[in-house]
């Protein structure tokens, strides 16, 4: 009975991958959870301000959860930088730094020159609300504020382009 229930629930509620592109991007369709936190880094440089991600509505947003102690996050950082520079007109990029020390996180941002908005989510409260289980996890929110896709693990160009394709 338990096995049957498990399989049933898995089929009914389990994640479905986006078949359109890379099979590792999982489709979601729900309002993006609230994300209000202190800024670690902003393009304007005003550090420590409280930022609400919902103010970014009107433009699709790629939300990347990372940490300075996380190896795969280092791996995908150059790709994020490149894509951000390429797409910054049409897509907003936001980083959420979780369970980290501020100094280490700052030097991570400096090292890779990721000058987009980063939230400092030291106790991983935003990450928990967004259902993130470990960094790196990248989510994509459409212009209406709906969470449409999720990717867990080290990003590849193909995956990131696929996620951007979901919202453009």
């Amino acid at each position: 009975v338990l096995s049957g229930a498990y399989l049933g629930v898995q089929v009914a509620c389990g994640p479905r991958s986006a078949t359109a592109c890379s099979g590792r991007v999982f489709l979601e369709n729900k309002p993006a959870p609230a994300a209000v936190g202190r800024a670690l880094e902003t393009p304007e440089g005003d550090i420590g301000d409280v930022v609400d991600l919902s103010t970014l509505r009107g433009k699709p947003v790629i939300v990347n959860f990372w940490a300075s102690w996380c190896g795969p996050c280092r791996e995908e950082a150059p790709l994020l930088l490149e894509m951000w520079q390429q797409l910054s007109d049409t897509v907003e990029f936001v980083g959420v730094d979780i369970r980290d020390e501020q100094a280490a996180a700052k030097s991570f941002v400096d090292e890779f020159n990721l000058r987009y908005l980063h939230l400092f989510d030291k106790d991983a409260r935003i990450a928990a609300a967004w259902g993130v289980s470990s960094p790196p996890t990248t989510l994509v929110v459409d212009a209406n504020g709906r969470l449409v896709g999720r990717f867990v693990g080290t990003l590849t160009r193909n995956d990131l382009e696929c996620m951007v394709g979901l919202v453009s």
């Binding site: 229930a5 280092r74 791996e75 100094a103 700052k106 030097s107 928990a128 289980s133």
Partner: protein, 671 residues
């Protein structure tokens, strides 16, 4: 009145009591020929029917029947027990991964074989879960027919039995009681109920059945159902619990929100659909360890503050070993603890790292680990010109000793003035940190332990000693300059506490209830003994007409017929004495002795007695040795009560006999 015990006779055996023997079937057939069985008897048991054993599902020992047999269940239980023993002898990945790794390294062949067989994770392996699942299934299939049979039999017992003959059993007694049959019947039932018997309604022939000791089967069923529930609770725990570990440094605030908040986390298959995370903050205000004189920790306590931004609740609490903090189904246990240092790493006025470094004991192949201190690491990938890794070895209470003291096997050529650094206790009396600087590639693009350096592409550059500011002096500073202007500074020494956060409220509460029931139901299941009493109350005259009253051969008459004597208060013209004589005669002639005739009338001085025969037969299905004394108790209770209280409107018999066996027989002979 005469009591003859049935001791000399062959004891009533369950198997001879009308189960499936061909002879018994004949008896039953004959009985049904002789006795008018009313139509309403359909679905009822027959008087004289021996209650069936609980179905054991073993009568057809193949296929389905084999699957649902108790024997299969017991074999499965043994297999589960054996697997559990295996799981506690072989190191398990989830609680001693280091031992598993060592085993794999020491015995490559067996390690691989064990790993393939999932012996390092017995309790989550598919074959173990399969065994438990099969056991549950078989247990369920065994219990279902027994349970339905139990309730069916109980229901049947409350109905009046169909008219029949009592079974021939060893333990029997016949009493002659003054009173009208209806009243006697009522009184006998009343007495039996008072003695704790469950009685059926009487049929029209004045027959009914009484039973005691149904608690045995009830207890057994309850025990097995509770066992079943215990397994279900285990399955619930495994599928719905979550369990995580988090290391908190003193002063650190932590959010309980989900997997991401834990250093180590595991959850059941259904846990993520249940949203059991409560979203509270936990701040470790203080951690304290008290030591015994021998340096072993006596007691340690985490003083925490809990804040729930959702409900606004706040509370302060102390978490000790076995004294968890419980909040809305989430329990926070004290797991372990250690030292942490606030460290800052800079290079040319740029802060590269500032925060806590946690120290952990190393797995050493030999020797007391504490002597070598505890190790923490700082990974500084942003250091220039190449990545830096700092290994900090903390000696909370260091001593400098001759090298020979700690290395007795060292070659004699060793410099006799060589010294060694050791740690002597876990208390921070003389803390010292040995910093080893590594440069090269930290290997962060490969998966690795956050608390360890991957030294495969690192080279050791230098080692320096530092200590904490409050212990620092000119020779032992609290910060040190390493190569290329990389500066390490110790800020403070603190404790960290590892907390285990767990939520398995479903499983544990169900398991608690089931465990109590398992033990409580064991007593009736083991000590209960089921016994049955067939009671036949009929007017003496009627019995006399039928022939020998306490023999089941005589064709019984339906007492419901209007001509039944003993009904109504008007005495019959038939002499009671005559009837009594008949009874006595019958009793003596009875092939199956044991007849106890309680003739209650001696001199019917003026008054006319209606007398009834009360025929009792008893059988026990367990503890047959106890039946005799129980039966005697019932009979003597009848003798006493019928003497003390008149049953009918008739006056009590003036019979002076005490209700003891000897006097009873004395009376009989006097008569």
């Amino acid at each position: 009145v005469k009591v003859v015990s049935g001791r000399n006779q062959p004891p009533a055996d369950e198997s001879t009591l009308g189960h499936l023997g061909p002879g018994t079937q004949q008896v039953v057939a004959r009985a049904s020929e002789e006795l008018p069985v009313p139509d309403s008897s359909v679905g009822r048991m027959s008087f004289g029917e021996v209650p069936p054993r609980p179905p054991s599902a073993m009568h057809r020992y193949r296929g389905w029947a084999r699957l649902r047999s108790m024997r299969t269940a017991i074999w499965l239980l043994i297999a589960v027990a054996a697997a559990s023993v295996l799981g506690s002898v072989v190191p398990q990945k989830n609680n001693s991964s280091a031992r598993v790794a060592r085993f794999m390294a020491d015995h490559p062949f067996w390690g691989t074989a064990f790993d393939r067989l999932m012996l390092f994770e017995v309790f989550t392996s598919w074959w173990f879960l399969g065994l438990v699942g099969a056991l549950l299934l078989v247990l369920f299939l065994c219990l279902l027919p027994r349970t339905t049979a139990f309730f069916r039999d109980r229901r049947k017992l409350s109905l009046a039995p169909a008219v029949g003959k009592p079974p021939p059993v060893a333990t029997e007694a016949v009493l002659s009681v003054s009173g009208e049959a209806d009243r006697v019947l009522e009184e006998v039932g009343h007495r039996l109920r008072k003695l704790g018997w469950k009685i059926s309604r009487a049929n029209e022939a004045g027959q009914f059945v009484a039973e005691k000791g149904g608690s045995r089967e009830a207890g057994s069923l309850l025990f097995h159902w509770a066992l079943f529930l215990l397994f279900v609770a285990g399955a619930l725990t495994v599928t719905t619990k979550f369990e995580g570990y988090v290391a908190l440094v003193e002063g650190q605030r932590w959010f309980e929100g989900g997997k991401v908040n834990f250093d180590e986390y595991s959850e059941g298959a259904f846990a993520r659909f249940l949203s059991r995370h409560r979203g509270f903050y936990l701040t470790l205000d203080d951690f304290e360890v008290r030591y015994r004189e021998n340096g072993m920790p006596e007691d340690y306590v985490s003083r925490v503050r809990l804040e729930d931004p959702g409900s606004g609740a706040t509370r302060s609490s102390e978490i000790r070993v076995n004294k968890p903090l419980s909040y809305r189904g989430v329990k926070v246990y004290q797991a372990s603890y250690g030292w942490a240092a606030e460290v800052s790493v800079r290079q040319s006025n740029r802060v590269l790292y500032e925060g806590p470094v946690l120290f952990f004991g190393e797995e050493l192949s030999s020797g007391p680990a504490q002597m070598r201190g505890v190790v923490g690491v700082v990974k500084v990938p942003q250091a220039s010109p190449e990545q830096a890794g700092l290994e900090l070895r903390l000696f909370p209470d260091f001593r400098i000793v001759p090298y020979k003291a700690t290395n007795p096997e060292a070659p004699e050529a060793q410099d006799p003035t060589a010294l060694d650094l050791i740690n002597v206790s876990d208390e921070a009396r003389r803390p010292l940190v040995l910093v080893t600087e590594y440069r090269g590639d930290l290997g962060l693009d490969r998966p690795q332990n956050v608390y360890r350096l991957d030294k495969s592409r690192l080279r050791s550059v230098q080692q320096r000693f530092i200590t904490f500011p409050e212990f620092a002096n000119d020779r032992l500073p609290s910060s040190v300059e390493l190569s290329d202007g990389l500066n390490v500074e110790l800020r403070s020494l603190r404790r960290f506490s590892v907390l285990q956060v767990r939520s398995d409220i479903w499983g544990s509460s169900v398991a608690g209830i089931a465990g109590v029931v398992v033990f409580a139901s064991l007593f009736p299941a083991l000590y209960g003994w089921r016994r049955r009493l067939w009671v036949w109350v009929r007017p003496l005259r009627e019995a006399a007409e039928a022939g020998e009253p306490n023999q089941s051969e005589g064709p019984p008459r339906r007492a419901a017929q209007e001509n039944g004597s003993c009904r109504g208060n008007e005495g019959r013209e038939d002499g009671a004495d005559e009837n009594g004589a008949d009874v006595d005669g019958g009793g003596r002639k009875a092939a199956r002795g044991t007849a106890l005739s309680a003739t209650s009338s001696k001199g019917d001085s003026g008054k006319r007695d209606e007398r009834c025969l009360v025929e009792l037969r008893a059988v026990a299905f367990q503890r047959k040795d106890l039946l005799e004394s129980e039966f005697e108790r019932v009979v003597s209770e009848f003798l006493r009560s019928f003497e003390a209280e008149p049953v009918a409107t008739v006056s009590p018999c003036p019979e002076p006999a005490e209700p003891s066996n000897k006097s009873v027989s004395g009376v009989s002979s006097a008569k």
